[in-house]
Subunit: 188 residues, 2 copies
Amino acid sequence: MQLVRDSIERYVKLTDVEWAEVAACWQRHTFPKGSLVSEAGRVESRTYIVEEGVQRIYVEHDGNEHCLGFAYGNSWSGDYDSFIGQRPGRFQVQAITDSVLLGIDHADLQRLYDRIPAMDRWGRLILEEVMQGRATREIELLTLSAEERYRRLLKRSPHLLQLVSQKDIASYLRMTPETFSRLRARVR
Amino acid sequence: MQLVRDSIERYVKLTDVEWAEVAACWQRHTFPKGSLVSEAGRVESRTYIVEEGVQRIYVEHDGNEHCLGFAYGNSWSGDYDSFIGQRPGRFQVQAITDSVLLGIDHADLQRLYDRIPAMDRWGRLILEEVMQGRATREIELLTLSAEERYRRLLKRSPHLLQLVSQKDIASYLRMTPETFSRLRARVR
DNA sequence: GCGGGCACTTGATATGGATCAAGAAGCGAT
DNA sequence: ATCGCTTCTTGATCCATATCAAGTGCCCGC
């Protein structure tokens, strides 16, 4: 659970007693490649931190899948939207590789929020950071052409190309696999 | 400042003493129609709750404006992205009508967070709610055609058509004013 | 109350990226 | 190793929406 401790202590300080209480709430879960971490229509009972593996988050609509993002390397995973509101999820989260996630139950997290004020602050700061990432992505989708979005990804996250299939990246960049393939051939 | 009190007490309870401290941090600001609440490139020192008026938030890129949303009636206003990170803003926020906003300074808010634990919780809950709205919008932009986005707006927020120009709504719905105009003629 | 400039409409044309199609290459399961 | 899937590529064609263009009306400032 060292990962969880690091993630929390980046933002707030906990006493050892508090930390023990927090640690007791987290559990390790494994998801084989291809399995669903979160399923549309189901209320997500947990939120996760990625210990190992890669997952993708996407929406299904008319038989098409639209990829919203990927989770890996200490980032958050799971359908946070469903988790927060405790209502049936609209997203799916799928393990792209065998994955090990550290998860906490919604009820347990609420209890921690109630018992340890610093956890509220942690939650706030995490969300502030997430919001900033969203803003950046929103701006890019809004203002950039397909080719510019591809170039931007190449520059900012070239490692993604190693982790995920091109079709998923294409979807994440809001284009078809064909367009993505042509860009790869054409750009650089 | 009743608006502020309501907004906070929807989420957490404060003692009268705490409330007095919070209230002292908020100030009323007026923005004449057309003026900028937040300006790209500037660090936003305040965040606002709308007491009166309508504002639009948008990005400029290559001389084009892309509208991300509107603020009115007790909702949040100002460049929250710049405010949170205290870095130069990428958005602009403009008063569409004469506006009265209740604002709090970044330093003051941090002080409240430090002195009143309930405020951290309030911040967290606010952000959780904002995130859910964003998720909904993201899904709609992802999965719906221009016509479907228009129909969805008609159903969910018909009042917007009274508050804002068609060209801003068109931009918000990710289409040109021409496309929007044609949809209006064609749909229903 | 006049004039200039937006906002909106409507039509013609252009285009970025999607869709359809077919083949090649990689890979997991048996 | 072989079969069957899925991914990736490449080409041809299509289409939703943008762009360009011109005209109308109306609102706001002087």
